[in-house]
């Protein structure tokens, strides 16, 4: 079986869906961050494949940017996580409901 663009895109879509489900279901902040990384990486796969398909480097460039941004996101996110953990001792997001209404 030849692996076509469609397969990559399906993979990308499936990964994205997994990411989405993770985002919705995870209560652990760290896992939640993972899920968002999966989202971005799903996109990366898509971009890489499409760039190859179009024979155009722009997509790959986009993917690189996404990787960079994902990395900085992780940096900021983990920073927040650490502070939060220091203050509360937990990384469960159900306790984060002091503001509502």
């Amino acid at each position: 079986m030849e692996i076509t663009l469609a397969h990559y895109l399906v993979l990308s879509g499936v990964l994205f869906a997994i990411g989405l489900i993770g985002v919705m279901r995870r209560k652990n902040l760290l896992m939640l961050f993972f899920a968002t990384e999966i989202l971005l990486n799903a996109t990366n796969i898509g971009f890489a494949a499409i760039a190859h398909f179009h024979n155009d480097l722009t997509g790959q460039m986009f993917a690189f940017f996404i990787i960079a941004i994902a990395a900085s996101e992780v940096a900021v996110g983990l920073g927040l996580l650490i502070v939060w953990y220091k203050r509360t001792g937990k990384i469960d997001l159900d306790i984060m409901t002091s503001m509502r209404g």
């Binding site: 996109t43 722009t58 986009f62 900085s72 509360t88 503001m99």
Partner: protein, 501 residues
């Protein structure tokens, strides 16, 4: 072997980067100053930031002149696009930032202002927004967006209260999700068209006569979700009240203005060509989204007990109101968007500054939140001037003439009328009436209730001369807006029209 790449500096047009670079240089120089001498007073950082922003603004205005003479300027491999929208957007971003930065000069000490990093981040964020508006390349938009957002998360968290962290985490997580949406949407567009520049995407789609309409719509759905988050459209708005509540009033006010205008400009670039190409689906969706956002947030604002949360919902509603301009998509409506936002900026600056001024360090006994309505009861008796100022901003937000926002409001509604959206115009008008209720609620508290004994000495403790000046500027801008409307209208129309919107 690879061909030698021959790029002349002139064609690079590095000058187009100047505005953002100024902001970035400003940020770096603040960090350098700190390295050279620690423990400097925050006023220094504020002034340095202001200086750099002033430069920034000057350069942007200079671009404005060039634009009016020669049309849009491209630069950096066409990554940077200095058209009318970009220039208007940057003016609002930079000028807005300049008005908000001095809010750091409070009389109470808030520790984040002692960090030079705060100001550096602030300037980075501004650069990010500038990148975002000054391009039609999806990568650049993405990078700008994320630069700004990540800086903003950090700024919120720097306030160092548990609510701020909570707000930052919420904002961050949702922001990450939205980033995913944006990336995925861009990917689909890229898949269909092979381009990541909006105008190229548009021309490819037009050439195909929207053959892959289904994929386009899926892509648009993702992008709508992403910008729905940024512009806090219902149901992507849920972060707004919490983040506003968790951050300082100064930052909340800032968030209600500057990031939104950046978002609007991108939304204009992204969606208007689709609306114009007769994508009925998008028209319907935008219509519904506009109406729901305006109405629902107004209704929710009514039941708030905290002024800042109320203002958060109010700014959601205003965003929905302005989103209508994108739906209408005429030159008049796009002009109205900028006019509205400029006037809204002044008014919200005033309103949030008043909150900021009345911020105390700790909650008083019996006080449910930082800016509970009760806190303001009878303000006219204890501090008449403050009450009148706050009342003025509330009236302006409610769209009572002749205060600032009224002129924006009629221009937006007029554009709806002339764009053929009669019912929408009516809904927008009636929503103003809904909104009047909650603005009035604060006025009722301030002007018609008795003051709570013992509270008054805690009011206005955060006031300093600079804050008062800012309030004064906002008030003058709000009251005498009518004088500014005509020149603003002329200039904005010129910029918008010449950019082809």
């Amino acid at each position: 072997m690879l061909e030698p790449i021959n790029v002349s500096l002139a064609s690079l047009n590095i000058a187009t980067l100047a505005p953002m670079l100024i902001a970035i240089v400003g940020a770096l120089s603040i960090l350098c100053i700190d390295m050279l001498k620690e423990g400097l007073h925050k006023s220094l950082y504020v002034m340095v930031s202001l200086l750099f922003l002033l430069l920034d603004l000057g350069v942007v205005i200079d671009f404005g002149n060039t634009f009016l003479k020669n049309g849009p300027v491209l630069g950096m491999f066409d990554m940077i696009l200095m058209d009318g929208l970009a220039i208007m957007g940057q003016i609002i971003i930079v000028a807005g930032s300049m008005l908000f930065i001095p809010l750091a000069l409070t009389s109470k000490r808030f520790h984040e202002y002692n960090y030079p990093e705060y100001f550096a981040l602030f300037l980075f964020m501004i650069a990010g927004f500038q990148f975002m508006v000054a391009t039609d390349n999806l990568i650049m938009i993405f990078v700008g967006l994320e630069t700004a957002s990540l800086a903003l998360y950090a700024l919120i968290a720097l306030h160092n209260r548990s609510k701020s962290f909570e707000a930052a985490v919420k904002y961050f997580t949702m922001g990450a999700l939205a980033a995913g949406f944006f990336a995925f949407g861009s990917m689909i567009l890229y898949a269909i068209t092979g381009a990541i520049e909006i105008n190229q995407i548009a021309s490819v789609l037009a050439a195909d006569r929207y053959a892959d309409i289904g994929y386009v719509l899926v892509a648009v759905s993702f992008l709508l979700a992403a910008f729905g988050f940024k512009l806090s459209m219902v149901p992507f708005h849920t972060w707004t009240p919490d983040v506003y509540e968790g951050s300082t009033a100064a930052l909340a006010g800032y968030m209600s203005i500057v990031p939104k205008i950046a978002g609007f400009i991108v939304a204009m670039r992204l969606f208007e060509f689709l609306v114009h190409s007769g994508v009925v689906w998008l028209q319907v969706i935008l219509y519904v989204a506009v109406v729901v956002t305006m109405t629902a947030s107004n209704i929710w604002a009514m039941v708030q007990t905290d002024v800042k949360r109320m203002l958060a919902y109010s700014s959601i509603s205003h965003a929905g109101f302005v989103m209508a301009a994108i739906l209408i998509g005429t030159t008049q409506s796009n002009t109205a968007l900028f006019l509205y936002w400029a006037l809204f900026g002044f008014t919200n600056l005033g309103a949030f500054t008043m909150l900021w001024v009345s911020r105390q360090k700790n909650l008083l006994p019996g006080q449910s939140s930082d800016h509970a309505f009760e806190k303001f009861s009878g303000l006219i008796k204890t501090m008449p001037m403050a009450a009148i100022m706050m009342g003025l901003f509330m009236l302006s937000l409610a769209g009572i003439p002749p205060f600032g926002l009224f002129w924006g409001k009629i221009y937006v509604i007029a554009s709806a009328v002339s764009g053929g959206y009669t019912v929408l115009a009516l809904i927008m008008a009636l929503n103003s009436a809904l909104a009047a209720y909650y603005y009035l609620k604060l006025i009722v508290y301030m002007f018609m209730k008795e003051p709570i004994v013992g509270y008054e000495k805690h009011y206005l403790t955060n006031a300093s001369l600079s804050l008062k000046t800012i309030v004064g500027i906002a008030a003058i801008g709000t009251i005498f807006a009518v004088v500014a409307v005509n020149p603003l209208l002329n200039v904005i129309t010129l910029f918008v029209y010449n950019s082809g919107y």
